[in-house]
């Protein structure tokens, strides 16, 4: 047997060995923790040491195509507190309740919250300068002010549907603000404050400051000058006709760039809560779906011309006022009919039986093929959300009656944006554009970061056909149903539309959507304008009466701001008994009383003074007056 001493010695050495191994294991583990786990632990520890005070970035602004401000920002700082740093809770609560205009109970609850950083929604956000000053002057520990912004709309309600609005967290909630939220928002900055576990700042560790980077600026294709004209005209029309809704779009037909877009009822982006959700959720010009009425005849016309099914000038058509198709009587809008007319006059008169004839000549397959190629029945691809598809007859269900009604714009449902896009293709040389409102993005230095290219789809008709359509539509304005849109020396082309509204599958009585689509100049269109007025009151519900004059005004003023050269030659306006006849006032100075009486002017002449010779007249010579107006002359 071994001696106990030797055993102990042996076991001592073994113990030393075991302890050495244990120390080695601990060293390896320590190395693992401090080297291999270092990054992960450091990141987590930083998170645990720091209190992040977020800094809102300045949201990207929105401009029109010429850099005019549509949406900009105003500084509106936010308040937040670090509850643990507050020294005098009573005093702090009192001040906050006073400055932020909240109840004292709420303020007390706020300052006694337990988390590391607390914000107060919504009273503590978007503060005024006065509030900020009062808070800063009090210089209470634990109460902080962080940069924040609020949206400002220099154009008021203009474009509200398209722009949408943002929430209190500066994130887009609808419209372009929502679609492009990521780009517009920018990146949050932060002040990272290192604090001890009780929330007090650690003096020996510097706080880091990470600047917020502002969002990119969005430049739209919108031309604010045109938009303002449209908005004003919509306001006037609303006042005059008290309609249920109004829709207007102005577009560059060659590129699909939307120059103006508006709808009524509208709202102010800062006060969206004051209107019903459907008002701000629906961008009417791309959402509304209704029967187009006669404006749709442009499509039938273009298809017939392209397929060489009609000669507008040399072919004639007799309209008795109605046609019988498959046992159904279809009436012309003018009950007594238009009688014998050329096909150009069919277009000018918007004669339904004439278009039924064109539809029949094309046949259902060809006509529906064109309708689809022009973009009806599917989304145009406009860069806004909430676009509808529109509704077409299913081709297998199309019989003679459906073909006939489709040819003059009934029984189909389309959106305003589809109409303006299709008509653009009909008049721009034959190519369907993709409508759009975004033009480019710039960064905060003004450098362009992204150009949004103009997109064109496919060709539907030839240049030649497109030219014929333009010319035919110019005569509609000069000599036909669209005369209200006539603009002197700008060759306006266009087409009226009047469609009965449908509700639950039935036509409503005396309830129409009247519309007009017009473009100018007819030889080289720069702008196309679509306007629809839903159920105008106190008037005859005809597109030519209600919508055409408004589009005429919009076109005239827009062409002027767009610097489009006036044309020297145009299709002259035809005078009809409906139109007021005008008379140019001659120079009457020096004429005797006798001479005046023998002149047979179509004006009421009021004579004052006792003499024999005319010394003054009102209005002055050269002024055009409607027949029967008063002309005052003064004798010496």
């Amino acid at each position: 047997m071994k001696s106990p001493v030797r055993t102990i010695k042996k076991r001592l050495v073994i113990s030393l060995l075991l302890i050495s191994i244990a120390v080695l294991v601990m060293c390896i583990r320590l190395f693992y923790v401090q080297v291999f786990m270092h990054d992960e632990l450091y990141e987590k520890a930083i998170e645990s040491w720091s209190r992040e005070l977020p800094m809102e970035p300045e949201r990207g602004r929105i401009f029109d195509r010429h850099g005019e401000e549509i949406v900009i920002n105003q500084l509106a700082p936010s308040l937040f507190i670090i509850p643990r740093q507050i020294e005098d809770r009573e005093k702090t609560a009192l001040l906050l309740s006073d400055v932020l205009d909240i109840s004292k109970d709420k303020a007390v609850e706020f300052v006694n919250r337990k988390s590391s950083i607390e914000k107060l929604h919504p009273e503590g956000r978007k503060l005024s300068f006065q509030q900020v000053r009062e808070i800063e002057e009090a210089s209470l520990p634990g109460v902080y002010i962080a940069d924040d912004y609020k949206r400002f709309y220099p154009q008021g309600r203009a474009l509200s549907h398209v722009l949408g609005f943002i929430g209190v967290d500066n994130r887009g909630l609808s419209g372009l603000e929502l679609i492009h939220d990521e780009k517009l928002y920018g990146e949050q900055g932060a002040i990272e404050l290192f604090t001890d576990a009780k929330g007090k700042e650690m003096s020996d560790m510097p706080s880091t400051f990470q600047k917020a980077s502002p969002g990119n600026d969005l430049h739209l294709t919108i031309d604010l000058r045109v938009q303002k004209i449209v908005e004003r005209e919509l306001n006037n029309a609303q006042e005059k006709y008290d309609p249920d809704q109004i829709i207007a779009i102005a577009m560059s037909p060659k590129t699909g760039e939307i120059l103006a877009i508006a709808g009524r009822p509208d709202f102010h982006p800062n006060e969206y809560q004051k209107v019903k959700p459907e008002v701000y959720n629906r961008v009417l010009p791309i959402w509304s779906t209704y029967e187009p009425g006669s404006t749709f005849k442009i499509i039938t016309l273009a298809a017939a011309l392209e397929e060489d099914k009609v000669d507008l000038l040399d072919e004639h058509f007799f309209d008795s006022g109605h046609v019988e198709i498959g046992g159904v009587h279809l009436h012309c809008w003018q009950r007594e009919g238009h009688g014998q007319q050329s096909f150009l006059e069919v277009v000018q008169n918007s004669c339904n039986p004439g278009f039924i004839e064109l539809g029949n000549r094309l046949g259902k397959d060809v006509l529906f093929d064109y309708i689809r190629k022009f973009g009806f029945g599917s989304k145009t691809g406009v860069d806004l959300t909430g676009e509808s598809d529109g509704i077409l007859f299913k081709e297998e269900n199309v019989g003679p009656v459906e073909l006939a009604t489709t040819a003059f714009g009934q029984g189909v449902a389309v959106t305003p944006i589809q109409q303006i896009t299709a008509v653009s293709a009909a008049i721009n040389g034959g190519i369907v554009p993709v409508p759009g409102v975004t033009k480019k993005w710039t960064d905060d230095g003004g450098e362009t970061v992204e150009e949004v290219p103009v997109k064109m789809k496919h060709r539907v008709i030839s240049e030649e056909t497109s030219k014929k359509v333009r010319e035919a539509l110019e005569t509609v304005v000069a000599q036909g149903t669209g005369r209200g849109a006539f603009v002197d020396s700008y060759r306006v082309g266009g087409k009226t539309g009047t469609a009965q509204k449908v509700k639950d599958g039935k036509y409503l009585k005396d309830n129409y959507i009247v519309s007009f689509i017009g473009f100018a100049p007819a030889d080289d269109p720069e702008i196309i304008v679509y306007l629809a007025v839903d159920h105008p009151k106190n008037t005859v519900q005809f597109g030519g009466v209600v919508a055409a004059p408004v589009v005429g005004t919009i076109l005239e003023e827009s062409l002027s701001v767009l610097n489009v050269e006036p044309r020297k030659v145009q299709v002259e306006k035809e005078i009809r008994w409906l139109d007021p006849v005008t008379y140019k006032v001659p120079d009457l100075k020096g004429k005797t009383k006798k001479e005046l009486n023998s002149m047979l002017m179509p004006l009421k002449v009021e004579i004052s003074g006792q003499g024999d010779k005319v010394i003054e007249q009102s209005p002055q010579p050269g002024v055009t007056l409607p027949e029967g107006s008063i002309l005052r002359v003064y004798l010496d």
Partner: protein
């Protein structure tokens, strides 16, 4: 006398005061309005402890064998006394303290020495092989105070008492088979402990993934890792700990190694472990050259007691084992703990005086 050991002990004790000063400054200022509150007190303890050590080193170690029974008995009585409600003081959920104010002591610390002396004495009384009957007797000596300590409950001290006792049995040459059986029995007992107090199981699982319950069971572990992990190879520098800013609770106590690793990095952490390894190496040398079996066992037991505490404490801090309340010898704040360690070192030094030829 082993001057190297003496030097190492003094270095560790002084280094410990410095670390306590840094680790506790924020807490001390917050609680007592004096950033050096803990380090000052530890300084006093260290001075008293070193004086005690020198005194003990002059007392013939034979005395401890002679009075082993009485020391053991008194410490056991204290362990019983501390359990009586109203007599023992509850701190941090354990009824481990007896006395009043600054004069309070932890009977468990005394019991460590009692078990050490009595076990070493009983083994060395006979040079014959340890029989089963003697083994049972020895185990009784160890397990009785262990059981009392676990009633406080103080898992840390209990582990040290048990570990030191069984280390002595190991040194005495008890067969490996016994330790295998013991291991099996320990595992069974462990399971029983967990069933009796499920919070222990949570402690165990929480060390494997402390982030599972970051504010509860995993809290200390996470805060400890946030100290050592980010510090890297060389640390943030003296007094630059971040975790001592109320993140790591009572950083001057059981988790002081975390603060050391935070301020001095891997370099500082390994230096401390190296210091301990040197102390243990000197201790083993002393034991190997001790003149009689009792001295050998006594020295070896002290070495193992230090080794076990170091291993458990540091392993907890760096996430190797579940959290166990155990102090780091020389470094952790605490009078009882430091006095007992320095007292033991005094015995080691005394044994080193009488080397066998």
């Amino acid at each position: 006398m082993d001057r190297w050991l003496l030097l190492l002990i003094v270095i560790c004790t002084v280094f410990g005061i410095g670390l306590i000063d840094s680790a506790s400054s924020v807490w001390a200022l917050d609680r007592f309005g004096d950033a050096h509150f803990f380090s000052k007190r530890q300084g006093v303890f260290a001075f008293a402890g070193l004086f005690l050590m020198v005194m003990v080193s002059r007392i013939d170690y034979f005395v401890w064998r002679k009075y082993a029974k009485w020391i053991y008995l008194v410490s056991f009585l204290l362990l019983i006394l501390v359990l009586i409600p109203g007599v023992g003081l509850v701190r941090n959920g354990s009824q481990s303290w007896i006395g009043a104010g600054p004069l309070s002591i932890q009977p468990a610390e005394v019991a460590k020495l009692g078990v050490l002396f009595l076990t070493a004495g009983l083994i060395s009384r006979s040079s014959k092989k340890i029989t089963s009957v003697r083994l049972l007797q020895l185990m009784g000596v160890i397990i009785l105070p262990f059981g009392a300590v676990m009633l406080q409950p103080d898992l840390g001290s209990g582990t040290v008492i048990l570990g030191t006792g069984f280390a002595l049995l190991f040194l005495a040459g008890v067969s490996y088979r016994f330790f295998l059986l013991l291991f099996a029995a320990g595992a069974a007992g462990f399971a029983a402990l967990i069933i009796s107090a499920p919070y222990r199981l949570q402690r165990i699982t929480s060390f494997l993934d402390p982030w599972e319950d970051p504010l509860g069971a995993g809290f200390q572990m996470i805060q400890s890792l946030y100290a050592s992990g980010p510090a890297g190879l060389f640390g943030f520098g003296l007094s630059n700990s971040r975790q001592k800013h109320f993140y790591l609770p009572e950083p001057q106590n059981d988790f002081i190694f975390a603060i050391a690793a935070e301020e001095f990095g891997f370099a500082g952490g390994t230096l401390i472990m190296l210091l301990f390894l040197l102390i243990i190496w000197r201790g083993v040398l002393i034991a190997l050259h001790a003149p009689d079996p009792f001295a050998m066992l006594c020295a070896g037991g002290i070495v193992m007691m230090i080794g076990i505490q170091v291993f458990i404490n540091i392993s907890v801090v760096i996430g190797l084992i579940p959290v166990t309340g155990i102090t780091l010898p020389f470094f952790s704040y605490g009078g009882s703990s430091l006095l007992v360690i320095l007292f033991s070192c005094g015995i080691l030094l005394n044994i080193s005086r009488s080397r066998s030829v």
